[in-house]
């Protein structure tokens, strides 16, 4: 009696599985958008967002990361970490070729990391300063030896940050002026085909891709459409199938995502997990007082901003560590919207109504409105705010020269506090001339110590304790205002399948994507 029942259950389970996991179909070209037009496609040389979006399909890294930020194989098939946390051995996939037919070997890895990125790539350089030596053990094995354990090491091999570039093309040349930059040569599932400046970038299927059967698509067309309303129209009238994050204005999202056969996902954003913040000048003016900065936190209605300006997408952060970064300390008291408390703090410090200058982020309509909302929130508690609008160039310069009181920004978290968070608070990161370092001018010896120890502590449990303490201090000091972990959705037609399957979303998603048409 028992056996048939078990069989029936298994059969039901099997058919359920089949109903969900459809058989992918090969063929078809996907039309999508890149905004703005990238300056170039050689990923190791340029790391801005539009370049990553397109070139993440041409180039690859050693590892990929799931939406939970767990490493999975890409060009490295497997890897081992020594017991002392200082030696990382990567076993490379065999039978991988560059787009020009040359084999990919351990020598390429050594060249990319040790020569190319050390010279050109500031974000890889920050990781490489912990690396003592990189050696090719044999054709398919590479060993990285670290000066001391570095917690986030395994999470820094994403293609956009640590691109593998071909040694046979670049060795001994001036990298930037190399004619071989056109076309870009990678190992990825798609090859460069054509770029009509101002119109379209076209990639075609790499027939020799090492993963059997992949990619399913014949190609990808990246349309270049400078006007936001026109981009929305392109999706509405069916010219374009996929809108990667940030390609339409926020107020268009509800309308577009509620169209028939249109799907939306917030996944594929975990690696960057952009964190919107309010720089507060810790050096001078009312913002130099801790109580003023706390008052700003209590004055702002961040739920309102998320629900009304960002269509309910995103997440109100507790403090300096976002929810996608590891080691978040959940015991902290949240800064809820509490104008009364803000007024008390301002009274206590004896704030005399001296006006503060607010610099909005010149990245489109939503940011302008957000600045207006914050201005109104602050006025409610008696803080006089003057908004000073600039364009991107002016905004950069004002921050570079620390010429502001309050300023909007957003920064990527890169999955680990040592990569994306500590840079905002470390005092040796105070340097004029960059809008992305410790712009607010926060100095705290204990914080410096904790961040430094936590980056190199081993194993993970040691790190957690240190990071929890640093969050308590930052939470009290409020060096910057923590606004929102931004939710950047991908909008696509539902017959585009398996598009977002890693923590960088469409940046590499076309590898597995297929069309159910």
């Amino acid at each position: 009696m028992k056996t048939p029942l078990a069989l029936a259950v298994t059969a039901a389970a099997l058919s359920a599985t089949f109903a969900f996991a459809e058989e992918p179909k090969s063929g078809g070209v996907i039309d999508t958008i890149v905004q703005p037009e990238p300056p170039g496609l050689v990923l190791g040389m340029i790391q801005n967002a539009p370049t990553r979006t397109v070139a993440g399909n041409i180039y690859e890294g050693l590892l990929r990361y799931t939406t939970d930020l767990e490493p999975i194989p890409q060009l490295a098939e497997s890897w081992e970490v020594s017991d002392d946390g200082r030696t990382y051995t990567f076993h490379l996939r065999e039978g991988v070729t560059w787009h020009d037919g040359e084999p990919f070997t351990a020598e390429d890895v050594v060249f990319s990391a040790d020569v190319f990125h050390r010279d050109l790539n500031p974000s890889a350089r920050a990781v490489l300063q912990h690396v003592e030596s990189i050696e090719a053990i044999d054709e398919h094995t590479v060993e990285f030896t670290l000066a001391q354990p570095f917690g986030p090491f395994l999470i820094s091999f994403e293609a956009g940050t640590f691109t593998m570039v071909p040694k046979h093309i670049y060795e001994g040349t001036d990298f930037r002026d190399n004619d071989a930059n056109r076309p870009p040569i990678g190992t990825g599932p798609f090859k460069f085909d054509n770029w009509d400046r101002g119109t379209v970038i076209q990639l075609v299927k790499n027939e020799d891709y090492y993963e059997e059967g992949l990619p399913y698509l014949d190609g990808i067309n990246w349309h270049i459409i400078p006007d936001g309303a026109s981009r929305a129209v392109a999706f509405e009238n069916g010219t374009v199938d996929v809108l990667p994050n940030g390609t339409v204005e926020n107020f268009d999202i509800p309308r577009l995502s509620s169209m028939d056969n249109v799907c939306m996902t917030e996944e594929g954003n975990e690696y960057f997990s952009p964190f919107a913040m309010l720089w507060m000048n810790n050096r001078e003016g009312p913002t130099a007082d801790k109580r003023f900065r706390q008052a700003v936190m209590y004055a702002m209605d961040r739920e309102f901003a998320r629900d009304v300006l960002w269509n309910g997408l995103g997440n109100v952060p507790l403090s300096a560590f976002g929810s996608n970064a590891r080691f978040q300390n959940d015991d902290l008291e949240p800064y809820d919207h509490d104008p009364e408390k803000a007024r008390e703090l301002l009274d206590e410090m004896g704030y005399d109504g001296e006006p503060v200058r607010l610099l909005p982020l010149p990245y489109g309509e939503t940011w302008t409105r957000w600045a207006e909302a914050v201005q109104q929130n602050l006025r409610e508690v008696g803080i006089e705010v003057e908004t000073e609008a600039t364009d991107v160039g002016g905004w950069n310069q004002r921050l570079n020269e620390w010429d502001y009181d309050l300023a909007f920004t957003y920064l990527y978290q890169y999955g680990d506090p040592a990569l994306g968070i500590s840079r905002t608070y470390l005092s040796d990161n105070i340097e004029k001339g960059s809008p992305w370092n410790n712009v607010e001018g926060y100095e705290n010896e204990r914080v410096d110590e904790l961040f430094e120890e936590a980056a190199t502590a081993y194993p993970e449990s040691e790190r957690e304790e240190l990071y929890h303490e640093v969050q308590e201090i930052l939470h009290e000091d409020v060096p910057v205002g923590w606004l929102l972990e931004l939710g950047f959705p991908t909008i696509y037609r539902c017959d585009v399948k398996d598009l977002v399957n890693s923590s960088v979303g469409v940046n590499e998603g076309f590898r597995d994507a297929w069309l159910d048409r």
């Binding site: 500031p122 930059n181 101002g198 119109t199 006007d227 809008p435």
Partner: protein
């Protein structure tokens, strides 16, 4: 003979003016806040001082201003417009790549607005007291007063989204791979909305001007003489009135032609037309100085060329105008 000398003199003056424009623009751009190296670094989302220094050195931004100016001006004389920081290509290549698209768009808008404007104006003048004449003038007033971007967006909503007759953006159908006649037709289809949008405003002006100017001319003595001689009304309208009424329109058309490059920024952006106006806007936003200066240079050169052409056309239309006046 006379024309040849005139053209040579004008071209000589033009060279001097252009050189002054180049120098003036160079300093004007330096006054804008923001530094290209910082913006490039900012775009990358991460930067350290070494990275920014590398960029500055590579673009020669670490040198004193007068050295930079000298390099730039001596380059221009050799027709070398420098290198675009951001797009990693020679400026001249970039401009030559994008100029044809802009000339096609603005040229089409120019011809469209001039032809339709003069015809509509002439009709309105001929039907000055009839409802049809008033209707033309009312429409001209609407197009004159409506903002360009709104017209563009409404045109897209109506003709692309609702009716699906015309493409909403771009210059060719991506991935279609048309050649020959099919390509020409495809581009023509893409051209309709942006050229109309760009042309409407000037069409309205030409209509109003042609009408006023023709009504003026119709009061002149020589027209009365022509009527007294018993010429047919159609001949009087065309030969006597219209020809005399054209002078102010030529002046304005010359101005419009000169503005062709700059005036297309908005239209090119909304319709994703791969022209030079868009390139200019992006260069400005990126503080891509060399590219921006190069585009300024070409726009200024175009204005000068069209001024010369306008002067020549003037002389054709009205032989009484002599050199030096």
């Amino acid at each position: 003979m006379l024309y040849a000398r005139l053209i040579v003199m004008r071209l000589l003056k033009a060279v001097i003016v252009l050189l002054l424009i180049v120098i003036f623009n160079f300093f004007l751009i330096q006054m804008a806040p923001g530094d290209p190296a910082a913006i490039l670094a900012g775009e990358a989302g991460a930067s350290d001082q070494e990275f920014i220094n590398q960029l500055r050195e590579r673009f020669g931004l670490d040198q004193p201003l007068y050295v930079q100016l000298w390099h730039y001006v001596s380059g221009i004389v050799m027709l070398d417009f420098g290198y675009s920081y951001r797009l990693d290509m020679p400026v001249l290549d970039l401009i030559l790549q994008r100029l044809p698209a802009t000339l096609l768009l603005t040229g089409a808008a120019f011809v469209l607005s001039l032809t339709l404007g003069i015809i509509a104006g002439a009709l309105a003048a001929a039907r000055v007291k009839k409802p049809s004449g008033s209707l033309i003038m009312a429409l001209a007033l609407v197009f004159y007063a409506t903002p360009l971007f709104w017209v563009a967006l409404m045109a897209v909503v109506l003709f692309s989204v609702y009716l699906d007759w015309l493409p909403a953006y771009g210059m060719v159908t991506v991935g279609a791979g048309y050649t020959g006649l099919a390509l020409v037709l495809d581009v023509a289809k893409h051209l309709v909305l942006p050229a109309t949008t760009l042309g409407l405003f000037f069409m309205a002006i030409y209509t109003r001007m042609t009408r006023t100017s023709m009504l003026d001319a119709a009061q002149q003595d020589f027209v009365k003489t022509a009527r007294a001689k018993g010429l047919k009304p159609g001949v009087i309208q065309r030969r006597h009135i219209l020809r005399n009424a054209l002078l102010p329109i030529i002046t304005l058309a010359g101005l419009q032609a000169g503005q062709m490059v700059g005036g297309a920024i908005l239209t090119e952006t909304v319709f994703a037309w791969p022209g030079i106006g868009r390139l200019m806007y992006e260069a400005l936003m990126q503080r891509d100085y060399n590219l921006l200066l190069g585009i300024f240079f070409f726009s200024a050169a175009l204005v000068i060329v069209f001024n010369i052409i306008t002067d020549l056309v003037y002389r054709l239309a009205d032989p009484r105008i002599k050199e030096g006046t």
